[in-house]
Symmetry: C2
Subunit: 238 residues, 2 copies
């Protein structure tokens, strides 16, 4: 028994490939912060952990690279990227373009289509009352995914999914300043009310201000973290 599909442990191929399952596992470890930025992901060691062959693992790497959760360096291996201020600005620029346009061009809204958004808002409010800021962040991500989902565009959904995954990575770098998620709860509720009233233009404007403010607060937190003491030390790496 030298080779073969699914040797040993795998009880069932589910309905996805081994590479996708390995990618799912790695994605979880990255977004949960188990794999920290700047860390190199050794092929040899991960083969033992994930119980897949090296070729399959490399396919999983490719998948995650396309999502922006890993970066390749030729003959150096794969790394968890460390997002800097420019990346955050870049992410929010694309995010504003996508989300605001999706909201601005909405048509034929009814209560049925708004229901997933209301559920996310309720989840966020309940989690905030419990002080579960991590879940507040998750509910917020789900809210925005559902929001752009109203546009009914497959490609916009894909871009948004990648965007939010990378943003989640940024949150982890900043160590989740938990209070930053709190104001989003009220803003999300306000957005739903505007949409329920049929004011898509007002909702788009509110969303833009919302995202600009969120970006500014994140940037501030990132800068504070980068320079906790007042030192003006310009890091010279890279």
């Amino acid at each position: 028994m030298t080779g073969g599909a699914r040797t040993g442990a795998g009880p069932r191929p589910d309905r996805s490939s081994a590479a996708e399952r390995a990618a799912d596992e790695l994605r979880r470890r990255i977004t949960e912060g188990e794999l920290t930025p700047q860390a190199r992901l050794s092929e040899e060691s991960l083969v033992d952990v994930l119980h897949v062959s090296r070729n399959t693992l490399r396919e999983a790497f490719r998948l995650l690279t396309h999502e922006g959760l890993l970066v390749y360096r030729l003959n150096r291996g794969v790394f968890v990227p460390e997002l800097d201020e420019d990346d955050l600005v870049d992410l929010y620029r694309l995010r504003r373009a996508i989300e605001c346009d999706a909201v601005r061009t909405l048509r034929d809204l009814d209560e049925t289509r708004l229901q997933p958004l209301r559920a996310d808002v309720a989840d966020g409010e309940a989690s905030a009352r419990r002080g579960d800021w991590r879940q507040v962040g998750t509910a917020n991500m789900s809210f925005h995914r559902h929001l752009v989902g109203l546009a009914g565009s497959r490609r916009i959904d894909e871009v948004t999914a990648r965007l939010l995954a990378e943003l989640r990575l940024a949150f982890h770098i900043i160590d989740i300043p938990q209070e930053l998620h709190e104001p989003n709860v009220a803003r999300n509720r306000a957005l739903v009310e505007l949409l329920a009233a049929g004011d898509v233009a007002g909702a788009a404007a509110a969303l833009e201000a919302y995202l600009l403010d969120s970006e500014a607060r994140l940037l501030e937190a990132l800068r504070e973290r980068r320079a906790p003491s007042g030192g003006a030390a310009a890091d010279a790496d890279r």
Copy 2:
């Protein structure tokens, strides 16, 4: 000599991986129409053509799948996708969101930054005079890539590159109705003039109308091609 890096033909590894070079070659064949939609790309036969191993070929497939130039079907292989009306609408929706936002938020424009755009316009005009509609289309693609490039966002550039590659695929399906590219030349020149005058809002509005019109013309051409005779035959595949 059983295995090893770059066995046989490869004279130099350039500065990219074998998978990227294979992807470049496949991308060329797809966008040039050599590989037609609905065609299955056999791993075994392409290994001989591209002189790479199956594993490397599969990595190239992953790259192109991410760009939308190939689609995976589990245990079926990879195929060149055939874009339908919905895909075209989807592509143009994302395109309007990205490009119009990029133009609308432009700041600090000067002649130096507009120079690549002017070069593309000049290329398009010269090609149109020669009747080289294929080059007109290429120059048009380059124009729009440079246009969004003014925003200076890496991720927006990536999304745009994928968008235009897919669109090129659509053009090939419709067999390049060459006259469709002709009106774009004048519109591109008008856009540059508006930008040179500093009227970003006017340019954004003109671009939106431009893209809406372009989408409508493409849709019409696609429908005509799909139903050349008046038959109302609903295709039942898929």
